[in-house]
């Protein structure tokens, strides 16, 4: 029995200055950083989540500068762990993310296209810094993993890919259901069945959350450590805070933070 808490995570999808909503990996522009600050106010909202994920989902790889600037800005006064990723193809890509305020780096396509990179990243930064992101969708031939923003399907059953990834020098697995992504239909517990039974690293599930209730089922499971939503519309305003309260009331073991304590610490030295 551990006192390790479950984690409620929020993901931001960045594309060339805008933050996006993803539906089955199709993107809709929602708003820029100002929109985000107006409707999420992360200085406050950060208290309602346990981790923030910021992904660069640009379909055409441009310069990382804009993305890095946004990672830095979101890190300001926001005291939650940050995982950043999207298009990480080199040790330098990872290094620059970590120096911009990210605590962990997410890698997806590189797990498939450049396995030696994974070992390099682990050796340079430590495997606990690496979040292996796996996107899965169902096909006529069963579940398959996809890479490159869902455009390329891997040639083996998804369960096999997940087993392979579990053996790589990574810290966590971030598992997204493409079929449920952005649908608000709830998390896809079927994809959880694809994960190796004795997974040695923590598991984060994503894809499908629309409201608080959706998080309960996955988070009360022993094999799931965290659940993540990227639904930028549904959780505006106070919604993350009320969702967190709802989850705690439903028996999900999340830490409860007191916003007054945080405010009281400002300039207290």
């Amino acid at each position: 029995m551990t006192a390790l808490k479950k984690r409620l995570m929020f993901a931001l999808l960045y594309d060339g200055g805008s933050f996006m909503l993803s539906r089955n990996f199709r993107l809709q522009r929602v708003g820029d950083i100002e929109w985000l600050e107006r409707n999420y106010n992360f200085r406050e909202t950060a208290l309602s989540i346990d981790e923030l994920v910021i992904l660069n989902v640009e379909r055409e790889r441009g310069s990382m500068d804009g993305f890095l600037a946004h990672v830095k800005r979101l890190n300001d006064d926001c005291f939650v762990p940050i995982t950043a990723g999207g298009g990480v193809r080199s040790v330098d890509d990872a290094r620059v993310l970590l120096r911009s305020g990210a605590d962990k780096v997410a890698i997806n396509t590189a797990l498939w296209s450049d396995p030696p990179l994974v070992a390099e990243l682990a050796s340079e930064f430590g495997r606990q810094c690496l979040v292996a992101s796996v996107d899965v969708r169902s096909t006529a031939a069963g579940h398959r993993a996809v890479v490159a923003n869902g455009t390329e399907e891997l040639p083996m059953p998804a369960a096999e890919w997940l087993s392979r990834v579990a053996e790589m020098p990574i810290g966590e697995i971030f598992l997204t259901s493409v079929d449920r992504d952005g649908t608000g239909q709830g998390f896809d517990e079927a994809v959880l069945g694809l994960v190796p039974h004795d997974l040695p690293v923590p598991l984060i599930i994503a894809g499908g959350a629309g409201k608080a209730e959706h998080f309960v089922a996955p988070l009360v499971r022993g094999d799931v450590g965290a659940a993540c939503t990227a639904h930028l519309f549904n959780f505006v305003g106070q919604s993350l805070a009320t969702s967190r309260a709802h989850l705690r009331a439903s028996g999900v073991d999340l830490v409860e933070w007191n916003p007054d304590l945080l405010r009281g610490l400002a300039g207290s030295v």
Binding site: R23, N24, R26, Q28, R29, V30, N39, T183, G184, Q185, G186, G210, K211, A212, E213, F233, N234, F235, V236, G237, Q238, S239, T242
Partner: protein
């Protein structure tokens, strides 16, 4: 003002025409979602099969018609009729005014995915006059198109010897309003005239002064024209539980449906109503008349399908509802032949003084959604 209230489940407003609420404060659309869970859909499917069997042809002629715009709903119905039920449908589109490029592309994608299709272009100059009159007299900025959308497919079906037409959903039952068709599969022209056109046809026609011979596609067939012809008009939503989001997913997968790049005017969705620029004006006038707009409607759909909580919905309605369609303004002024002052005066006519007050030239709600 204190008389205005909201559905306790979704955010449908008490001002919505023909809407009703139960003791819990649930509107009829939400009650219907509950009923749909225990409804005997098997029986309704058998009704559908019997209906289709009555009309099915194997001689190559069309045996039914569907109404499509290229959007998710018509595409969904057409897909089911043709691929799941093996019928030979003719998909019919009535071209709207101010068609959007994405809408045109979606229509083309739909057709290219494998459908027989007829596009009816009711005389756009006539439609423009009717739209304008409709905007000024009934608050429906695309009244002319609505008339043609109801009438032209029927005329076309009759002319081609098709005895069955499917429209998508009965918006009254599904989104809040009259429950007359909840348990009725087939309806008639009179119902369409009364409810969907809200009896505004005569007013608009009279004011427009357009002669009968120019109105072929805008007018329902007469009793004489219908005599001896079988015509059954049905809503798909009677036979199968209507789910706009499911329709979107199927249309995306099988009919090439594409979404807009960003949210549509006055809402947070990007995958619905992408065919015509006047829809944004229609929902804005609706907002002024009744206090709810496109975001409220979309929120209702999301809440009812379990994707969002009411509280989350309130946030989104407050954020997006009632957006003045600034981005289309030039287009509208040019289309209606109005200047800004006339246009705003036309809008003023519809603003409900119990719900809105004018501040800095814009109508601002005096109520707060809760």
């Amino acid at each position: 003002m204190s008389d205005v209230y909201w559905c306790t489940n979704c955010l449908n407003m008490s001002t919505r025409p023909r809407i009703s609420f139960d003791a819990r404060g649930w509107c009829n659309a939400c009650q219907w979602v509950e009923e749909k869970q225990t409804l005997d859909w098997g029986a309704r499917q058998r009704e559908l099969e019997a209906l289709l069997a009555r009309h099915k042809r194997t001689d190559g002629r069309f045996d039914c018609a569907t109404t499509v715009s290229g959007g998710k709903d018509g595409s969904y119905v057409s897909y089911n009729v043709q691929h799941r039920h093996g019928m030979n449908p003719l998909a019919i589109t009535v071209t709207p005014a101010l068609a959007l490029e994405l809408g045109n592309r979606n229509l083309r994608n739909f057709i290219e995915s494998g459908y027989n299709h007829l596009q009816v272009n009711a005389d756009p100059t006539v439609m423009r006059i009717l739209n304008r009159e409709g905007f000024l007299l009934t608050g429906f900025p695309y009244f002319g198109w609505l008339m043609a959308m109801q009438a032209a497919p029927i005329r076309t079906a009759i002319n081609l010897g098709i005895g069955l037409i499917f429209y998508g959903e009965d918006g009254e039952v599904e989104y809040g309003g009259s429950t007359a068709l909840k348990n009725r599969a087939i309806y008639d022209i009179d119902f369409m005239r009364r409810i969907y056109l809200e009896g505004g046809q005569d007013t608009v026609l009279k004011s427009s002064g357009i002669p009968l011979e120019k109105l072929y596609f805008f007018m329902f067939p007469t009793e004489e024209e219908l005599a001896g012809r079988q015509l059954e008009i049905a809503h798909w939503s009677y036979f199968e539980s209507w789910d706009p989001y499911r329709n979107y997913l199927v249309a995306k997968e099988h009919c090439g449906l594409e979404e807009a790049e960003a949210s549509n005017s006055g809402t947070f969705t990007n995958f619905a109503q992408n065919d015509q620029a006047l829809y944004a004006l229609h929902t804005y006038v609706m907002y002024l008349k009744f206090g709810f707009g496109r975001a409220t409607q979309d929120v209702g759909i999301e809440i009812r399908r379990g994707a969002m909580s009411r509280e989350q919905g309130v946030n989104l309605v407050r954020l997006y509802d009632g957006h003045y369609p600034e981005e289309y303004l030039e287009l509208y002024l040019d289309y209606y032949g109005m200047d800004r002052a006339e246009f705003d005066a036309a809008l003023d006519r519809w603003a409900n003084a119990d719900l809105f007050e004018k501040r800095n030239g814009r109508w601002v709600p005096t109520f707060e959604v809760r």
